[in-house]
Symmetry: C2
Subunit: 197 residues, 2 copies
Amino acid sequence: MQSSHLKAYLTSNLDIEEKEISSIIGSCTIKKIRKDEFLLRKNEYCKHTFFVENGLLRQYSIDEKGKEHTISFAPENWFVTDRESAYFNQPSAYYIQALEDSEVVAIDENFIHQLSEKIPDFAGFNNKLLHNHIRHLQKRINLLLSASAKERYLQFIDMYPDILLRVPQTMVASYLGITPESLSRVRKELAHKHFKK
Amino acid sequence: MQSSHLKAYLTSNLDIEEKEISSIIGSCTIKKIRKDEFLLRKNEYCKHTFFVENGLLRQYSIDEKGKEHTISFAPENWFVTDRESAYFNQPSAYYIQALEDSEVVAIDENFIHQLSEKIPDFAGFNNKLLHNHIRHLQKRINLLLSASAKERYLQFIDMYPDILLRVPQTMVASYLGITPESLSRVRKELAHKHFKK
DNA sequence: ATAGCTTCTTATCATACATCAATGCACAGA
DNA sequence: TCTGTGCATTGATGTATGATAAGAAGCTAT
């Protein structure tokens, strides 16, 4: 398998032999996936952690009223998976879909377990990923609890300026927890402010 | 140290010798803390994971406008900590305060690292805690994105019926992301519905 | 270029929730 | 028993955001 990004990622985060890393990557499969195709659908069992080599994916849920809620965006060099499903072996509540033609490395959940037990450093690395994830989620909860639509949007721009340009506003809105119309208004307001200055 | 709950908790979750568990617990300190006292304040470094033996704690933030936002409640048999601060060694953004006179076991962060490296099963246990945490946070985000005040309250009742009775409504409101007044109205509405039936 | 998507904007109206202010309780301390 | 203090409730009013609908602006494919 040809996998430059993941290899670079692991090399800079894991203090083990280049050779060993290659062997790890060797036992993963790379998957090409076209825009709009799914890596995971609701009620399926998530069996992998996906590392995005290139392209852009989105994880989202659909509620009873049929509305989409974006859980996360995953561009190059990000991991995306439903840990709840993968770890606890439950049917997933989420969809993972490609927003652009993408390539991902599918890392088997069991494989991660094995590596964690064999390589202490890898266990530590995995631990770090989990903590990062938690930090991220907590920050988002805090934001949803405390900030207005405009504030949330501003923070989004700040954190993901690159993603902003690659996804339709509808999806940004569903990430922020507002309607596309509201987002449009917020944007208008902000544009005006800049203009007047 | 006398620590019935933590010991029971570990025994039922860790497949190691009773003796070893005792020795683990032996090297932790128990802390008595009175209502309204703090285990952690904003900008302090969180150095421990706290296991609640009895009592009830709350983790919350205060935003620029001075409003409190409850991140979590922690009753008996729960862990509470700011992982972001403890793991990444950053000043915390949160407060952890006792809502009732409580007893907690303070587990040193480094100690956890050591145990994880020595005892594979403990590493697995810790991993499970992290995944549980993630599952929890994700569910909450999904709820904040998709549900109305009333729906969020109903779900809260469902998930934490015990906590509901032990904390002032102001704090429940700040957990749900609404004002105390709104919560009062939601409750009134629900009460009426039941009554009319 | 045209037709047919999808996305974004704009406008109007509706509504959930916030804000502000007053009142009512309950409980704790003198 | 009285009184102060903290919550919960209620009402009046304001505001941000949602719902709906329609038009404008890009893309894509024929």
